[in-house]
Symmetry: C2
């Protein structure tokens, strides 16, 4: 069993942000798995999506159920094999799992308050810059690969644009070159649910000793609907009644507007409750905004081909047929723009039923593609 | 210009409901357009969806902008031509536009309170029964047609099952034989947003002098996303910034998590605000639950073919290619079940870009199909 050990690195120098604000000093939580080889050529950075963290793989000592969020993908003998690669997971700035974020002390606060709503807006570009500074401190100049799914894939793509010489390969899974209007719309509804929760207090709920759990629950329920495909929802839940499972009421309708009637309702409420217990509301706003803002083609008059001209890495892109949040067509836009620039691109569209969630799941074809790709990377860097 | 005049009918006898509860006495608001012919054969009942009412067509005297919700479809010379047909719109029980609903006095309340959360759960079947009683009072035994879109289409389908001998034709548009798990999921998130709004007060907000507007706004924003197609959202809004429209900030990002940044956000907030100003929160719960519960195949072990065996009407079904809320595949399930029963069915799948909303819009191919169908109905009933 791979044992993970969380670490933290402190940075004294201010980090200049895309918004022109800056973070005066900060900490980054991270974990590493495997061994950095002698010529420091086998490092792979794994970037996380909305609600994940630096705890990418392995388990914590004595806690066998504490698997990292991508443990099916990363570990000894896994598609990204920690026996060959030195894998790094970093918690992003503004998140709520150890790196500096809204619940940490604001050094600019006269009366020792936490950042709360004053935490500056951070972008994918800012995260990539912070990750690069961490790699500097770890003595890693060049990554064998940078890898991520969803928002993590945007960071991987960002790496190839901001630090093209420091990345040999980019593995971009279930991602997109930017959000569609519908994607932004779902993020906005979730944010409004949080911001209009009376317990949000303009983002300064910490000092009131409350948490805007109502809003967080709604945000998570909306999120969960968009992570799953209609097909897998119908297969897992369909129109099954809770009473058909519990045996109560002989499988008849309860005829209630507020009680749980269908299993899908029970599932969503459970997911919402769980999320509201651990996730920070300001972090939710920040991370969904980073998603909204990511748009590398914006500076190139909307041309993704122009935007990706400077990306010299080799690429693997993977998308999932039933992912309607980041549909295959969005991955194909990236593939097309890279091909326009004569870049080396592999692309796999996996016919998995699980929607956007598929990127976190163990699918043989999907994992086969990633494993084969990393076998080539390993040969290239000599591990 | 067709002038509409709202009317109301009082019913003294209790209405027994599917849930085994009953409504002791009630009023139905309705409107009629055109003239009932001598043999009373030209009546068409139009059923409304979630947030609409009995005001289907025409305008109110002196209020030229008060068009009925389906005025593009219904009126003199329109596809459903009020020069030939006698058209009836009825506000459903539990709604908030005149018919008895949660904001009306509860006759069982000792201290003269309104129903609020105690308004009984009503189903599509209950609405159809109430509509049939209204037709009795209007002296209409047989409908030339019953017509509806979305939830209104479910009522039209319900009519052919509950009162097969009273319906010659059913026009079922952008509808489904039941909701999918995803449909129920969206309804449930919207309901949770309302129910967990502190101003909801368990549904008895009226006596507190407040309205759960936060929840209603979120519910409506979610609804709007599902009414539109991804394509039309990208076309209408895309990633356009509000500042690109207002001219402020030179089209740059504001870098804010709470202010409106994208035009789609502005649109959704506006729709949410507007809705929260006029729609009743308990009605929202009741009507989404009626959607969830509708499932005629349920009593037939899940076989829609068996369930529709008793439907003797002729059918027109219409669906829209980009409608992902009630996708064409769902209409095809109904078509297939009717064909299994050797019924007379016309079916048109319209390649409109507008998603579920298309059923309310003026599309030449769509209106052409409906017009042609009603031309045949007119010939059949001799008008």
């Amino acid at each position: 069993m791979l044992i993970a050990t969380p670490q933290s690195m402190h940075f004294d120098a201010p980090l200049a942000l895309t918004s022109r604000a800056s973070i005066r000093a900060y900490d980054l939580s991270f974990e590493t798995y495997g061994q950095l080889n002698a010529d420091r050529s086998n490092a792979v950075l794994v970037c996380h999506a909305l609600n994940a963290s630096h705890h990418v793989a392995g388990v914590y000592e004595g806690r066998p159920k504490s698997e990292g969020w991508w443990h099916s993908m990363i570990g000894p003998g896994k598609p990204l094999d920690t026996n060959r690669f030195f894998v790094i997971g970093v918690n992003n700035l503004g998140s709520c799992f150890g790196s500096t974020g809204p619940m940490h002390l604001n050094p600019d606060s006269a009366d020792g308050q936490v950042y709360g709503a004053d935490f500056p807006v951070v972008t994918v570009e800012d995260w990539v810059n912070a990750q690069a500074l961490l790699l500097d401190r770890l003595g890693i100049q060049t990554l064998a690969a940078v890898m991520g799914g969803s928002l993590g894939g945007m960071q991987a793509l960002g790496w190839t644009l901001q630090y093209p010489k420091r990345v040999r390969h980019a593995v971009v899974i279930a991602s997109a070159p930017n959000l569609t209007a519908e994607n932004i719309a779902f993020n906005e509804v979730a944010r409004r649910a949080i911001v209009t929760d009376p317990d949000f207090h303009g983002g300064n709920f910490y000092r009131h000793g409350v948490v805007p759990k109502r809003g967080l629950r709604i945000a998570r329920m909306i999120g969960h609907i968009t992570y799953l495909s209609d097909d897998v929802m119908n297969e897992k839940f369909g129109r099954q009644l809770r009473s058909a499972v519990s045996g109560a009421n002989e499988g008849n309708y309860l005829y209630s507007t507020q009680d749980v009637e269908f299993q899908i309702e029970s599932y969503l409420r459970y997911q919402g409750d769980k999320f509201a217990d651990y996730f920070d509301a300001n972090t939710y706003l920040l991370i969904t905004r980073a998603l909204d803002y990511f748009d590398p083609a914006r500076e190139s008059g909307g041309s993704l081909t122009k935007a990706l001209a400077g990306a010299t890495a080799k690429f693997l892109l993977v998308s999932f047929a039933t992912d309607w949040r980041f549909a295959p067509a969005r991955s194909r836009e990236i593939v097309k723009a890279l091909l326009d620039n004569q870049r080396d691109v592999s692309y796999a569209e996996i016919d998995a039923p699980h929607g956007h969630d598929a990127f976190l799941l163990d699918d043989a074809r999907y994992h086969g593609v990633v494993r084969a790709y990393f076998d080539n990377v390993a040969q290239e860097v000599g591990v």
